[in-house]
């Protein structure tokens, strides 16, 4: 039902914030999210759905893009109200070779997934597509190491291009994707070009949410031709290509 927790670590760089709280209440799957808001503040009435960036059983961290009123308030709060974890999370397929494709701040849940995959025998590659070098610089300033191939649209960092143009270079039979909807639709289109390949694709969707637990019906999005309530049926949807 939610709990208030003191922020134990806070770092800010280039419009991103890394927040941590001490948390050992439950297991959390990569792709799951929490509803976050400052504690005891009615002016931020609805919590914001934020994917888990990392969790080691004691420390729970969120990498948040400062986007508006809510995320700014979260970034300065000494205490956060957390409810969750919500959503289904990514499903692992032990016998498959994986490709992780992140777009922009879609990095957060895939970073957590990569961290979990390292603890398994699952072989994987990781591509992170960005518009320019802003997030890459910010991540470095936060002291984080992203073991991913970086692709930027303006060519200012990593290789020039868009992520969907690079996926053909990899051999994989499961693809985990998180990023803006247009980017994910492009990736889905590329994967579907190999129709009948048997590739499983899992997309982590984002939506405005009222509650996070299925009550409000506010998080409806359409993806791959079907309507989805992101908090209850997602955020991860699976497509067999």
């Amino acid at each position: 039902m939610g709990l208030g927790l003191k922020v134990s670590e806070r770092q800010i760089a280039e419009g991103l914030i890394l927040l941590s709280v001490e948390y050992d209440a439950t297991t959390i799957l990569p792709g799951q999210f929490f509803q976050l808001r400052p504690v005891d503040r009615m002016d931020i009435f609805l919590a914001r759905p934020i994917s888990v960036f990392s969790y080691n059983g004691r420390k729970l961290s969120f990498l948040i893009r400062l986007k508006g009123r809510g995320t700014y308030a979260i970034s300065t709060a000494d205490c956060l109200f957390l409810d969750g974890p919500f959503g289904n999370g990514f499903k692992l397929y032990p016998s498959r070779k994986a490709l992780l494709v992140a777009g922009g701040m879609g990095l957060a849940p895939l970073y957590f997934l990569a961290d979990q995959l390292k603890k398994t025998t699952i072989d994987f590659d990781f591509i992170w597509g960005v518009r320019d070098g802003t997030y890459v610089d910010a991540i470095k300033r936060l002291g984080l190491v992203i073991e991913a191939r970086i692709v930027s649209e303006d060519g200012s960092t990593g290789e020039a291009g868009i992520v969907s143009d690079f996926i053909d270079e990899y051999d994989f039979d499961i693809c985990y994707v998180c990023g803006p909807i247009p980017m994910m639709e492009t990736v889905l289109g590329r994967l579907k070009e190999k129709k009948g390949s048997g590739v499983i694709a899992q997309f982590s969707l984002e939506a405005n949410m009222g509650c996070g637990w299925g009550g409000c019906k506010g998080c409806y999005v359409e993806f791959d031709g079907r309507g989805i309530y992101v908090c209850r049926e997602g955020p991860v949807v699976e497509v067999l290509c």
């Binding site: 939610g2 009435f45 609805l46 919590a47 637990w213 009550g215 409000c216 019906k217 506010g218 209850r232």
Partner: protein, 314 residues
């Protein structure tokens, strides 16, 4: 004992049924799946009004559906629901598992449409709410059903003939004199009035310079509207003697108590459950303590703020 406070809670009566709490979940807040999955602590509530159903399934509105505003929220869900057929075949049998009483809510735009709900008439229901005031489903170019006095009179009158159970009319706060509409539904045979629904509002995204919602207008709820809703409850209580289901921005025990003092027989906790799922627990505990500390029953609280100026006419 009716309307009394005890150490375990409050007992009161509504439409012939004893309730263990004066708090309830208004329509639109939570679906049956989530109720049965235990997403909310139902022991804090006397009853729940189910999400409004329409004759045909509705996917709801496109675009942004929920939006955070200071001390509240806006929604443009648009009565997303699976329709009457699925409700009858799949939802209804599952409702036996609910630990608290429920009220069915239906959206009706005309007397003809009401007849489509005649299958509900054969059920042994406690009460049906006629949601005449969803801000996200327009009646016609002029506005909501609940803004058309002639129409709501006809619909409630027809509902009175069709259903044997108790009938609640959910009114819109967006009318000049809500008590006039309450009088109309009372004279048409309603057993109670839900006062009220979300207020109609507009949000504009200054970055895109466009309205946030595809339909422009959306429903405003949460603590921001509490005192506006309280005024509507106050006005209706002074005019009709039907039980009032007070709804609008209740977020703390004082707000719940004030809603009762203004005339609400039962008090809805709606959007606040999106702020925190267990929000009703502390409210109920503090209401119980208030009654105990002051030696009052819940019944004695309802409408008490009107004192000698109360002048009921209906």
């Amino acid at each position: 004992m009716q309307g009394g406070a005890s150490s375990g809670g409050i007992m009161l009566e509504l439409f012939g049924r004893r309730l263990s709490s004066p708090l309830f979940i208004p329509s639109g807040i939570v679906g049956v799946d989530e109720l049965l999955a235990g997403q909310l602590g139902l022991e804090d509530f006397g009853f729940v009004v189910l999400k409004t159903i329409t004759l045909k399934p509705r996917t709801g509105n496109q675009g942004v559906r929920v939006y955070d505003i200071p001390c509240g929220m806006m929604n443009s869900i648009g009565l997303a629901n699976e329709g009457m057929d699925v409700f009858m075949k799949e939802t209804l049998p599952r409702l036996e598992g609910l630990p608290i009483p429920y009220m069915v809510s239906i959206s009706v735009h005309s007397v003809d449409e009401l007849q489509g709900f005649n299958r509900l008439a054969g059920l042994d229901l406690w009460a049906i709410e006629l949601n005449l005031s969803c801000p996200n489903v327009r009646h016609n170019s002029r506005g909501l059903v609940a803004q058309d006095g002639d129409l709501i009179f006809k619909i409630i009158k027809a509902a009175r003939r069709l259903f044997n159970c108790h009938i609640v009319a959910k009114l819109s706060p967006d009318v000049a004199f809500i008590d006039e509409y309450a009088k109309l539904v009372a004279s048409a045979g309603a057993d109670g009035v839900a006062v009220a629904n979300t207020f109609q509002g507009v949000a504009i995204d200054v970055k895109s310079r466009r309205p946030v919602f595809d339909r422009v207008v959306a429903g405003v709820s949460g603590p921001a509207i509490f005192h506006l809703a309280l005024k509507r409850v106050w006005d209706v209580y002074r005019t009709v003697s039907l039980p009032i289901l007070g709804i609008g921005g209740v977020y703390c025990a004082d707000a719940a108590l004030a809603m009762a003092m203004a005339g609400a027989r039962v008090v809805g906790i709606g959007s606040f459950l999106y702020h925190r799922r267990d929000g009703a627990r502390a409210i109920l505990a503090e209401v119980v303590k208030y009654l105990e500390d002051n030696g009052l029953s819940w019944d004695e609280l309802v409408g008490v703020a009107h004192g000698v100026i109360r002048d009921k006419q209906a």
